[in-house]
Structure formats: structure tokens, C-alpha cells
């Protein structure tokens, strides 16, 4: 019973419920929100954030952070444009871009795990570095002549359903990440590292190696997101995805992952992503300016940590009072 109450009261469950409430309310209240076409747009809009949030969740669960993801996305997009202009086949370019993302992740992982540098500072550095390189590669120009077969596939839907084709890789990856985090020893080791890296190390977990591979994974997924971003807007540009890292971190924290590591669920994070995207979509349909969304995002982000903290302190003070009463009797 008390376990159930704790489950219900935990933030990630609340976020899932809140997301459902927002979706249902918006479908009822906001004109054109519930249409199938809008569902397609919604999924397309949240796709890059959702993709990048998957490995980000794992990294933050281990108590680290990767702020360079959006720049990795941008650099992969720029390289994609460059290689396309040089006449490579798009299929191999896509492979190269994902590989490039993984290599950029290797750099992050090396700096963080082998040199023991703080991940926040390292990835702020590589955020600037990768974005800068993206501009060096492609300048301010854009490469736009990607074949319709590919760009059309990215924006297209499966058969007659409103589900976009790109929903498939998203669902596959989400399931893979979810299982890995919540149903394998590997996932449990991540929580252990996040709770106490030293203790995890002494209990036989190879902390550095695990963290290293998480950065590689994060880079590869960001590279894939860069490919999909480029194809969706049929435009390879160095500034693609600028600022996305903040939206991703916001969504992950909103989903109930602790910035200190050791706590969080993937369903909570996905709910956080959907919640932000749905609010944005609904507000835009209601002609509320995008500015208002900035405020909503910020408030939700702070509230996602603040409210559970307040709830905990209320609960502990209750418990204390109850104990005191019990002692008095």
C-alpha cells in the first residue's frame, strides 16, 4: 500500500499522468489538435529531442551530462551536406554520419573517463568546438538537393496511418534503451554508478568503460538525429539543431531523472518529451506566442525538482510528528 502510494507520488508517474491529461484536454479544447495530420506533425517535431534524450537519460542516470549533442547533430548535418556535394551516395553518407557522431562521442568519452575531466565543462567545450567545426565545414551555406525519395520518406507516414515512418526507428530505439536501462544488469550498473561511482567501482563495475561507451552511444544517436533532421528539412546547415541540448536536458529532468544521477525512468523521460512538444503544439495552434512556452518550459523544469523536494520535506515532517506522537504515547 505504502509502496503504491510512493509510486503514485513519484514524479515520473506524475509526468506520465500529466502528459495524458494535457493530450486529452488539448484534443478536446484546442481546435485541430486531435486531427491525425496534427499527430504526424507532433511526432515529427518531437523526434530529434526524443532520440537524443534516450542516451542522455542513461548518461544523466550515471551522474554525468552531455551538452554537446546538439552540436554533434549540427556537425553531422554539415558533413552530410559536404559529402553529398562531393557526390557520395546518400546511403554511405548516412552510415558515415552516424559513425562520425560516434567518433565525436569517443572524444567526449575519452576526455571524461580517461582524463577524468568534469563532463559539464568538457561538453560545454565540445559544444562550442563541434558547432564551430560545423561552420568551418559548411560555412553559412545550405545544401538542399537531397533526393525526394529520402526526404519524402522522413516526412511520410506508414500506409494510411498518421504514424510517421521515422516513428519506427524511434520506437525501436526507445524499446532497446528502455529494456537496457530497466531490465538488464547493465542498466542496474548505471543506477549504481549514479548513486555512488566509488561504491560501484568497488563492487566490480567498470565505471570508466561503461561511461565511455555511453558517450559513444550518445554521439552516434545524435549523428542519426542529425541525418533525420537534415532529411526532414531537406536542408543541411551548420546551425541545424542549435540550442537543442537545453530542450533535451529540460525534457530529461522534467521526466524525473535526477541531475545527480542514480534515479529516473525512461518512460518518464519520454512523457516529458511528449509533454513539452504537445504544449508547444497546442499553444501554437491557439496562436499563443512561442515566448509563453519558454516560460512554461522553465517553470516545469524547476518544478520537476522543486515539487518532489517540497513533497519529501512535508512527508518527513509528518513522519517525524507521527514518530514523536508514538513516542509520547
Amino acid at each position: 500500500m505504502s509502496d503504491l502510494r510512493r509510486r503514485v507520488a513519484s514524479w515520473d508517474v506524475l509526468v506520465v499522468l500529466l502528459t495524458v491529461v494535457v493530450l486529452v484536454t488539448a484534443a478536446g479544447v484546442v481546435e485541430n489538435f486531435g486531427t491525425s495530420r496534427n499527430a504526424t506533425f507532433l511526432v515529427l517535431d518531437l523526434l530529434p529531442i526524443a532520440l537524443v534524450a534516450l542516451p542522455m537519460t542513461l548518461i544523466i542516470v550515471t551522474g554525468e551530462i552531455d551538452l554537446s549533442v546538439a552540436s554533434t547533430l549540427g556537425l553531422c548535418s554539415a558533413v552530410m551536406g559536404l559529402l553529398w556535394n562531393n557526390g557520395l551516395s546518400l546511403e554511405s553518407i548516412i552510415g558515415i554520419c552516424v559513425l562520425l557522431g560516434a567518433v565525436l562521442g569517443v572524444v567526449n568519452g575519452f576526455l571524461v573517463t580517461a582524463l577524468g575531466l568534469p563532463s559539464l565543462a568538457v561538453t560545454i567545450g565540445t559544444l562550442a568546438l563541434y558547432r564551430g567545426l560545423a561552420f568551418v565545414v559548411l560555412g553559412d551555406g545550405a545544401v538542399a538537393d537531397f533526393p525526394l525519395a529520402f526526404t519524402g520518406w522522413v516526412t511520410g507516414t506508414i500506409g494510411g496511418t498518421p504514424i510517421p515512418n521515422v516513428g519506427i526507428p524511434l520506437v525501436v530505439l526507445a524499446v532497446l534503451f528502455g529494456v537496457a536501462l530497466h531490465a538488464t544488469p547493465f542498466g542496474r550498473s548505471l543506477f549504481a554508478i549514479g548513486a555512488n561511482a566509488q561504491a560501484a567501482h568497488f563492487s566490480g563495475i567498470r565505471v570508466a568503460r561503461t561511461t565511455f561507451w555511453l558517450y559513444v552511444l550518445s554521439g552516434a544517436v545524435a549523428g542519426l538525429a542529425g541525418v533525420l533532421w537534415t532529411l526532414r528539412y531537406s536542408s543541411a546547415r551548420a546551425d541545424n539543431g542549435a540550442g537543442l541540448e537545453l530542450a533535451v536536458v529540460a525534457a530529461v529532468l522534467l521526466g524525473g531523472v535526477s541531475i545527480f544521477g542514480g534515479k529516473g525512468t525512461l518512460p518518464g523521460v519520454l512523457a516529458g518529451v511528449v509533454l513539452l512538444a504537445a504544449l508547444q503544439n497546442a499553444l501554437r495552434l491557439e496562436d499563443v506566442s512561442g515566448q509563453a512556452l519558454n516560460i512554461v518550459t522553465g517553470v516545469l523544469l524547476v518544478a520537476s525538482v522543486l515539487l518532489p523536494n517540497i513533497a519529501t520535506s512535508i512527508r518527513t515532517s509528518w513522519q517525524r510528528r507521527r514518530l514523536r506522537r508514538a513516542a509520547a504515547q
Binding site: 553559412d140 538542399a144 525526394l148 550498473s189 512561442g290
Partner: protein, 356 residues
Amino acid sequence: MVRTSRKIVTAGIAALFVAGLTACGGTTKDDAATGAGNQAAASADPNAKLKEGLKIAFLPKQLNNPYSDVETSGGETAVKELKGEYKKVGPNDASASSQVSYINTLIQQQQDVIVVAANDPNAVCPSLNQARQAKIKVVTFDSDASPGCRDAFINQATTQGIGESLVKMAREQAGGAGEIAILSATPNATNQNAWIEVMKTELAKPENSKLKLVKTAYGNDDDQKSFQEAQGLLQSYPNLKVIVSPTTVGIAAASRYVSSSSYKGKVAITGLGLPNQMREYVKDGTVKKFALWNPADIGYLAAFAGAALSSGQISGAEGEKFTAGKLGEYTVGKAGEIVLGPPTEFTAENIDQFDF
């Protein structure tokens, strides 16, 4: 445990690669057929009446840009005259992808006409074509999208005319000879690049042989960036006589820098600017002459063109005629282009007659 973790990670990466490398047919740039084909133009009925109650939405490059505010204000006036519903939406940053979400929203809201200034001629194309499939007429202004994905384009003036006028002003200010530099918007801005091309052709002519274009700098239509680029130009080229800035943000920033620096009076600024922003610098002597068309007229004409398209008066084919309220009759040119008219030149004598 470690082995499992590595397995999972490697498997994940492998899966990504498989996804990336499937269908290794090899699609390269050479065999790619890109761009959506132009939709079959519907037949136009020149005598059709303009519909009332049309929902006309304006989507400028970004919201807080004084120039596009003036443009869309003209659009608002026109929509009022047409007894339609006016709406203006847009992103806070002039990025290519942020406009797409707004176009999608406008499709959802079932607008009749979308009037858009494209941040990237190609990135907005798929969405604009979706809009046209949903029977929404698409008019571009200010900065064109690929001709394949819009019905008409409102061109503020002919590219040739603007380029010639910019070189003429530069020659006057330089006293016929000397170094000049260009402070443009972004390096891939459609308009500015076309004008700069014409300028280069003009500069190659014998009467301009003494003018030397030393550099084209890019301020990205960002006030601070343009300000700093102007600084950089003056530092790098001590003999610079004239900075030509074919963008309202750039000319204002460059004028502000020069008016407050030791270069005032030595270096002339000219180009395309808004009278309200430039009044101060014209009065204090930093700027002698600059030019622009009336931006409000662009929005006005765009709204009427959209209404004419939506009412079936025109289809966007060359040679069709329609009447745009107070501006009079216009003819659709090649590839759906509608040209507003020649630019106005502003000097200390006439600047107070204009308020935009």
C-alpha cells in the same frame, strides 16, 4: 556484466549502421531528381470577384524585425480592405527549420493564403507543398522559396535595378574612385547575393573602373554582428571610402558605428535602409543617401496577390493581370514573379516625408 554492457552497446551501434546502410543501391547527387514538380496551374478567370472573409496569414522571417513589421503592417491594411481575416505568426529566430512548424500549424488552421518570407528557399518547400495540396495559396515576399513550391513571388524591385542603384550611390559617395566594401546579410541570403552579383557586373563596366570592391562581409542581419563586422572592415581597409550595405540591419549598424567613431566624415555609408532607423544618421551627416522601396507596399501587394489567387482571378501564370487596391494594376511576370516597382532614394531633403 561488463561484457553484457559492451554487447548491448555494440549491438546498438551495429543496428544503427544496418539501418544506415540498408538499400545500398547508392543514391548520389548525380542521379537525384529533386524538387517537387510545379503543380498543374489551374485555369484562371480574370473576371472572378475577389472573395471576402479570406483567412490570410503572414509568416515573416522572424518576429522582432522592424523591417518585416512594416511589411506585414501593409499586409494588414490590405486584408482589412479585402474584408478578410489577418494573422501574423513567426519564430523568434530567423532559422530555417523553425518556420516549418509554423507552416504546419497554419495548414492545421486551414488558412486560405499563406504569405511567407522564406528563411531558406528549400527547407520550407515540403511544408509549403503540403499547404498547397490542402488548397492553400502560397505567396512569397521579401525572400523567395524555390519556384516549385509557391504560387507567386512579390519582388520588391528587379534585381538588376537594385544592383545598378547600389553601385550608382556608391560611385557618387566615393567621388568616382576608391575602395568600397559590402556589408551584406547572411552569405546565403537569396536577395542580397543576387544584388551583389549585379553589382559586380556593374563594377566591371568602364565608368566604374576606378571603384575597387575590397571585401564582402556578412553581418547575418544581426545587429551586433553587423556592428562588429563594420568595425572589422574599417580596421582591415584603412583606405575604405564607402560601405554599401544592401540590408536594413547592416546599414543601421554600420552607420551607428561610424557615427560614434573617428571614421565619421571619412567613410560614407549607403545601401538599403529604413528612413525611421536612418533619420538620425542622415541628419548628423554620417549618411548622405540611401534607397528603399516602401516595404508596406510589399505586404499590401502580397495580400492582394494572395486574394486574387485564392479567388481564381489569377493562377500564377505569366501575363495574367490583377488589380491590387490603391497600387493599381499588376501583371504576373516570368515564373510567378510580381514586381513592385523602382526603389525610392532618401536624402536629408526628403527623409522627413517618410514614416516607416
